[in-house]
């Protein structure tokens, strides 16, 4: 009974992304054929926009992560951003994150890669925080639509907050915590 149920759970866990995709496709197709079904059109258009964005960002991101993984030795990451790296890593992590673009899930693969190479968890989360809140492309939008005052104030208030949260994160996790392996265990 139990293995059976687990099999069902696994099947659902595997199938739901495809079911959702199929649902969007069906709704969109229905809207196109019947007309007057704005929800289906909007959902289809949203998905198309997201897919284009993914196609534009993900290939170079994963290529860079792969290259980083192969070329940058663990000692380097440990020395500059490891647990004993002190405060000097912080501005670098923030700068690195600010130069990027895209939604936060684009930052996950590199963040995990850093973590596995011995980057201190707090620095990983500082990177993620800066990525989500301080990307330069995003700041230009913010300045355009909400003004300098808003943007500067938000930046000034946000930086200490996400650094604090990152330190807290590191404290909350067990010292030997490692993110799960993504790819099958392959040749290192």
């Amino acid at each position: 009974m139990i293995p059976n149920r687990r099999g069902l759970f696994r099947a659902v866990a595997r199938a739901w992304p495809w079911l959702l995709l199929a649902m969007v496709a069906v709704l969109y197709g229905f809207a196109r054929i019947k007309g007057g079904f704005a929800y289906g059109l909007a959902a289809g258009k949203n998905l198309a926009d997201f897919l284009l964005e993914m196609a534009a960002i993900l290939p170079p991101v994963f290529l860079l992560v792969g290259l980083f993984d192969v070329w940058i030795p663990r000692e380097v990451v440990e020395r500059y951003a490891g647990r004993r790296s002190g405060l000097k890593a912080v501005p670098w992590m923030i700068l690195l994150a600010m130069l990027q673009a895209g939604p936060i899930y684009v930052a996950f693969p590199f963040a995990v890669s850093l973590w596995r190479k011995g980057c201190a968890p707090r620095n990983v989360f500082i990177y993620l925080g800066a990525f989500s809140a301080l990307k330069i492309p995003m700041l230009t939008f913010e300045v355009t639509f909400l003004g300098w005052r808003f943007s500067l104030a938000r930046t000034a208030v946000t930086i200490p907050v996400f650094i604090l949260l990152a330190v807290l994160m590191e404290r909350l996790l067990p010292a030997q915590y490692e993110p799960p392996r993504l790819e099958e265990p392959s040749a290192r």
Partner: protein, 156 residues
Amino acid sequence: MIFLWIIAGAALAVSLAVDGRKTRLAVIKGLKMLMAVAPLMLGVLAAVSLALAAVSPEMLKQVLAGGGPLPFLAALVIGSIALIPGYVAYPLAGILRQNGASIGVLAAFITTLMMVGVLTLPLEARFFGWRVAWIRNALALAGALVVALGMTLVLK
């Protein structure tokens, strides 16, 4: 974005010039990671597309503009769930402000939008594990609250 392609291309070229075998390994590694998360990513994006289509800018205007604690709470909840790219979110925020949304509401909306992702939780968990995903999002939500309150104090 073009910038990203140029950097990746340059890095690939240098890597190829130095060591072809290592480069092949790197490309395979990157592809494997991409393949491992692609289905989940597609599913999350489909879910976000469906959710986003149900919400119109008009509705957001009605819920988020105005004073009191209710728009503030709504901003935290909507921002946490939604995944709206910056080039859509900021024009929207500009409109919200013109319609009388307070600084605190705008800050709460934008900060949760960027730092908290309820719909992307499965994806985040795939990369970092569920434990990290939950803690990070909970802390980010608390952080967004602090940022919003701080912004209200700094501006105005």
